[in-house]
């Protein structure tokens, strides 16, 4: 039912106050996205990535 998106890369730029750099910049990184663990529109201009645990 749920499919794992293999290495669908979501670029996370390490935020720079100077230039607001976001993607594909030095210091950026990619994270894998599991389709089951995403909410909201796929083409949304803003992505919030939350690293969390349950305790």
């Amino acid at each position: 039912m749920t499919r794992r998106l293999a290495l669908v890369a979501l670029a996370i730029g390490l935020w720079s106050a100077a230039c607001g750099a976001q993607t594909e910049t030095p210091g950026s990184a990619t994270v894998t996205v599991d389709a089951a663990m995403v909410k909201g529109a796929a083409e949304a201009p803003v992505t919030i990535v939350e690293f969390s645990d349950y305790q």
Binding site: L14, A44, I48, E50, D53, Y54, Q55
Partner: protein
């Protein structure tokens, strides 16, 4: 709370959840794996919400009981959990978080802008508005 942010900016925001179970919280890792098992059965977010309400009661029996409460296939869920089917996926999230400098939870990235710790909803609203303004300038 982030669900409210998504509702306030329809079509503008998406939320990606990544596991980052901290080692000193022994229930966190099995809970993370259990949520992914629920996700495989189509109910990740419902299970995720249930875990936050139920914390820290995360014994194996608790985790299976929560799945049953959501009407998930108990045998399939238990088999997933027992097999550690998502252990490596959770490890992968932790590795990605560490690569990004994540050391504690929760840590958020709003279009790459880091926000560490719990914040009031107003802070997320502002971060989303800033990110939308940045996106509009590009």
């Amino acid at each position: 709370m982030l669900g409210q942010v998504l509702a306030e900016f329809p079509g503008k925001v998406r939320l990606v959840f990544k596991d980052f179970p901290l080692d000193f919280r022994p229930g966190a890792r099995p809970a993370a794996e259990a949520a992914r098992c629920a996700g495989a059965l189509g109910r990740f977010w419902e299970y995720h919400d249930l875990l936050f309400l139920a914390q820290p009661a995360f014994s194996r029996g608790d985790l299976v009981a929560y799945a049953s409460r959501l009407g998930l296939d108990r045998a399939a869920f238990s088999a997933c959990l027992e097999a550690g089917r998502y252990r490596r996926a959770v490890d992968g999230d932790v590795a990605e978080g560490r690569a990004l400098g994540v050391t504690g939870t929760p840590t958020f990235f709003v279009n790459g802008r880091r926000m560490v710790g719990a914040h009031p909803i107003e802070t997320f609203r502002e971060a989303v508005q800033d990110a939308l303004a940045d996106a509009a300038r590009k």
